[in-house]
Amino acid sequence: MVVLAAAAALWVLAPLRRPAVAAEEETEREGLLRERDSISRSLRDLELDRATGKLSDADYAVLAARYRARALAVLRRLDAR
């Protein structure tokens, strides 16, 4: 049991002997990709809502234009990286 405990302790503490490394932060790119996915999902819902008659063409046009503007802003920022 003592050997088992010592082996476990060595294994657990081994990473601490490596040089200090800064932890990975969420990059801005990941945040932008998430926003892109969210807009994509919203647009898909919007399209489905219009196609199945839940949303009028006029409402669809207004709402889709807003999402597209947001999407373009996100994609421009992604492209700029």
Partner: protein, 667 residues
């Protein structure tokens, strides 16, 4: 062997405590090597808990009565399967299962979080390690499964015979998968709040984990209802028992979250609310374990006699303090970026649905803790009983059912009245026709007929959802109806998976309404050869028999069932008397069809060979069980990973409209 088990748990506790400190330190210093060490400590703790679990399983399988736990839950006459399922049949074993499942979840969560949000790894490790430490502390102090007896008995007491059933073998672990699974969303949200760099508070990463926990809780409740129905022999499946309520409360809160998180995903709204729901769901999972494990439900006195309750309450208070404290700290940052565009939209329906789910959870909480509070304050436990729950929860449930039909008909952001009229016409007509038809046909009580009308309305909305989607797909792509349906569901898994879950819930609702409102029963004392009629059935009693099986003397009522002149075959209703433990169980004679269940209980017998039978006809019971299967299908579809969108976009030249540049490929 017991020493190995004890050592493994002690070492696991030391490692979990180390991981807690290392995780917090890594989060503060943002040092990857410390986080890696914390992760390894959790991995080693999981391995050691696995060793402890293996030791306990071997002790149960070999009937090592030197362990008090084994002596209390295993007996020589008990089948091996139930010797092994005794692992979670008692308090100490079930706490070990909690710790083991949590470790498995922790390792899986660290893996996915490392991929999705590496900055959250230290926090997730710390919160999971803190929760593990709590359970390991219990397992190494007040609830050790490896406590030994100096004078082991030659035979154990065995489990309560009511637990010797396949449904009971899977009910607790499934429920545990749900309870414990709520730790991961809590850990992710706490980690995100602590690190401060995540506007969504980690809620969007936590969503999938919470969905899984919700599904496990759903199945656990469903298995429990099935066990209650076939084993307890009272003819019912739900009794507002505090132990059942303990699992229902986090389920209700998790269901609210599954709806409200969609608003956060699409509109970046309700982040604060979702954070509160994740913390509440976790708190209720600990509270549920406290209720079922502390003895507080049987009496406040047994609670005070056992130290377990105090441990649980302290940990619960600490967890809520940490969760709500972090939320309060980041409160301003979690402010919604948008507001509701219109009162009539799917978002507003979801908000209302959340209010109803939370009100139902609060009512169940109040009814469940009332006896405890009344005993603590007045010295006498006052049980509110099923009438309280029925009066409060049933109207809320009907409101939720109505919203289940209304919500999908509303568009996101804004539903125009003109379109709404068209959307509601067919489902509304289906509901009205069904209600009028049922009332006209003399279906009473009227409340049940109206509830079925509501179900018809919801069923029509779900059918319409699929029909419209298929029609649009066929118009665009010229596919066959079956192909279009399959492609529609697979391409929009979350949306249509959710609709299928709604269909499952609808079947469940129909089953509950039918079996509650139209059940009939009678008591009949019969001599051999005599029969009794109930509904369209005639049950003939053919005499008594007895046999000894599995340590029990079984008295068997032999029956023959007829529907009109049609012979439906022979059935048996049994009472099993466990001579050693003085317990008795019931095996009912059960014939199930989609229309109704004939359910016969052997209630008593006399020396001259007569039997007293309790006969029940429970309509639409099979719908409840079918609802669980459909819910499973929908949940699996909704949980399947989505393909990441790869939109085609053309960035327009200055002055050119962006319209049409985006192609999300919706259908």
């Amino acid at each position: 062997m017991a020493d190995l088990g004890r050592f493994a748990l002690l070492a696991a506790l030391a490692l979990a405590l180390y991981a807690l400190v290392a995780g917090m330190l890594a989060g503060r210093t943002r040092r990857a090597e410390i986080a890696a060490s914390a992760g390894r400590a959790l991995g080693a703790a999981a391995a050691l808990e696995g060793v402890a679990a293996a030791v306990l399983l071997v002790a149960l399988g070999t009937r090592d009565y030197t362990l008090r736990y084994v002596a209390a839950h295993v007996s020589n006459a008990q089948p091996l399967l139930y010797d092994l399922t005794a692992f979670w049949g008692g308090m100490e074993g079930s706490l070990l299962l909690w710790a083991l499942v949590l470790s498995g979840y922790t390792l899986a969560a660290l893996r996915t979080v490392r991929r999705q949000r590496p900055a959250l790894v230290p926090g997730v490790a710390a919160v999971c390690a803190g929760t593990s430490s709590f359970f390991l502390l219990l397992l190494t102090t007040v609830a050790s499964p490896f406590a030994t007896s100096p004078f082991p008995p030659s035979d154990g007491r065995g489990m309560n015979p009511l637990l010797l059933n396949p449904w009971m073998a899977i009910h607790p672990p499934t429920l545990y998968l749900g309870y414990v699974g709520l730790t991961v969303p809590f850990a992710i949200v706490c980690a995100a709040l602590a690190s401060g760099g995540h506007d969504d508070a980690g809620v969007l990463v936590a969503r999938r984990w919470l969905l899984w926990a919700w599904y496990c809780l759903s199945m656990g409740l469903w298995f429990g209802a099935k066990w209650s129905y076939v084993v307890l022999g009272w003819g019912g499946y739900w009794a507002w028992d505090p132990v059942e309520n303990a699992a229902l409360m986090p389920w209700l809160v998790a269901t609210a979250f599954i709806h409200s998180v969609m608003i956060q995903e699409r509109r970046e709204m309700l982040t604060r609310w979702n954070v509160v729901l994740v913390i509440l769901a976790f708190g209720l999972s600990i509270f549920g374990t406290f209720l079922t494990r502390s003895g507080v439900l049987s009496s406040i006195h047994s609670f005070t006699q056992s130290p377990l309750g105090a441990y649980f309450l302290t940990f619960l208070a600490l967890a809520l303090l940490v969760g709500f404290g972090l939320a309060a700290w980041r409160w301003d940052r979690l402010r919604s970026r948008h507001e509701l565009d219109a009162a009539l939209s799917r978002e507003s329906a979801f908000v209302l649905n959340n209010v109803l789910f939370l009100a139902a959870a609060f009512a169940v909480f109040l009814g469940t803790v009332f006896p405890v509070v009344s005993e603590a304050l007045g010295g006498r436990a006052i049980n509110v009983g099923p009438p309280f729950f029925d009066h409060v929860v049933v109207p809320l449930a009907l409101g939720i059912l109505l919203l289940m039909g209304v919500g999908p008909l509303l568009a996101w952001r804004r539903a125009s009245l003109d379109h709404l009229h068209r959307q509601f016409l067919a489902p509304g007509a289906a509901g009205v026709l069904a209600g009028a038809g049922l009332l006209g046909a003399g279906v009473r009580p009227a409340g049940a007929a109206l509830a079925f009308a509501l179900c018809a309305f919801v069923a029509a909305t779900i059918a319409l959802e699929f029909a419209r989607g298929v029609r649009v797909r066929r118009a665009h792509r010229g596919e066959s109806a079956v192909w279009a349906l399959g492609a529609l569901v697979l391409r929009n898994r979350r949306r249509y998976g959710g609709d299928i879950v709604h269909l499952g819930m609808l079947l469940l609702a129909c089953g509950i309404i039918g079996s509650s409102a139209f059940a009939t029963q009678r008591l009949a004392t019969l001599a051999p050869g005599q029969d009794a009629a109930i509904g369209e059935y005639r049950v003939r009693f053919d005499g008594l028999a007895q046999e000894t099986r599995g340590g029990a003397l079984s008295i068997i009522g032999r029956l023959r069932v007829f529907a009109g002149t049609r012979d439906l075959g022979a059935f048996e209703a049994r009472r099993n008397l466990f001579l050693r433990s003085q317990d008795a169980t019931t095996d009912v004679a059960l014939r199930s069809t989609p229309r109704d269940d004939l359910y016969v209980i052997l209630a008593g017998w006399t020396a001259d060979g007569r039997a007293t039978l309790r006969l029940l006809v429970n309509p639409m019971m099979m719908w409840i069980w079918a609802g669980g299967l459909v819910l499973t299908a929908g949940a699996v579809i909704a949980m399947l990973p989505e393909r990441r969108a790869a939109p085609q976009v053309a960035v327009p030249a200055p002055g050119v409209s962006a319209g049409g540049a985006w192609s999300p490929g919706g259908l």
